[in-house]
């Protein structure tokens, strides 16, 4: 298998994995917009996380930022798979930012809120997987 083909496969897998994250983030965004996370009724730990002040930035649910980030990853990975030159750089930068944000959210859940939301943990796992996929990408010089 050529390096170019291997790279295309990795970009395609990255795009598909990001769709799973997009679905998760979309679900959490909808929950935030319906006001459900400001109530009790679901998993108490989940609602403690999603109803906390850390779940919003300037009144905007962080899940919405997550959905935008996953969508960006999908778009950049798709363009990269079609060999658009700059898409790879944007993809790596976006996933790097998501990785740092994920570390922050894990810190908040563990040390500040002492509660875990399974949807947030699932999103963290997806981001770590995406980070692993971009690390596995051969450099752009390799052919």
């Amino acid at each position: 298998m050529t390096v170019s083909r291997f790279r295309t496969i990795l970009f395609t897998v990255t795009a598909l994995v990001s769709l799973v994250g997009l679905a998760d983030a979309t679900y959490l965004t909808v929950q935030a917009f319906t006001g459900e996370t400001l109530s009790c009724g679901g998993s108490p730990d989940c609602f403690r996380v999603l109803g906390s002040s850390y779940a919003r930035v300037g009144g905007v649910p962080v899940a919405l930022f997550g959905a935008v980030a996953y969508f960006s990853v999908f778009a950049f990975a798709t363009f990269a798979a079609f060999e658009y030159a700059r898409a790879r750089t944007f993809l790596i930068l976006t996933i790097g930012a998501m990785f740092l944000a994920t570390l922050w959210f894990l810190y908040v859940q563990h040390f500040v809120l002492h509660a875990y939301c399974r949807y947030c943990l699932f999103s963290a796992a997806i981001t770590f997987l995406l980070a692993g996929l971009v690390i596995a990408l051969p450099s752009s010089q390799e052919q």
Binding site: T26, F33, C40, G51, T78
Partner: protein
Amino acid sequence: MKRYLPFVIVAGIALATLGSGALLYHAKRPQLRAIPESTTAPGKSDTESMHVRGNPDAPVTMEEFADFQCPPCGNFAGFAEELLKEYDSRLRIVFRNFPLPVHEHAHEAAMAAEAAGLQGRFWEMHDVLYREQAAWSKAPNARELFESYAGTIGLNLDQFKTDVDSEQVRAKVDSDHALGDFLGVKLTPTLFINHQPVEPKDKNPAGVRAAINAALAEKPKSDADLSAPVNQANQNQTNASK
């Protein structure tokens, strides 16, 4: 064609995400019914067992379905106090028990509050339960703490211990819960202002104040207009029981 394909794929996913998000939003919005007027109108039988705070003849009634172990309900209780001071004689608050099964001690707490209510101290117990929520929520034996709160607010302790397990108290909690179920309550706190449900997204200080102000503005045309959704709800209840 290959040049445009990524644009088509990305646009397709964007549309699919927005569409599924909109559908999910519509599906997840709680479908709440208006409260039948007979359950809150002064002079009706249920009024005697209702827990009302504020002016009993206030033009605006805010009914809250709440769970004593729910942290947002605890936060809301403090805000409700502020509202009562702010709106003074124009607002009354009705409390309804809606203990959620996900909260281990919620039902027991509701029973304790109702048992205190039999000695005329419901609101005192309501306040202490929310104030001490963090303590008893994690306690292995919450009952002991409830009994200590009963002593603190000056209840006859023997009577409280008897009442807290009584059928009368259980029936009151269950009756509130059944009303909540009928109305479509799934989350706590769930609010109704003058019988009309408050959208979950409006369960914030600005949203609740706006709903109260709107109810105050509408009040002059009250009875005739309010009876329409009430009659519909009564009709639904009749149909449901058939």
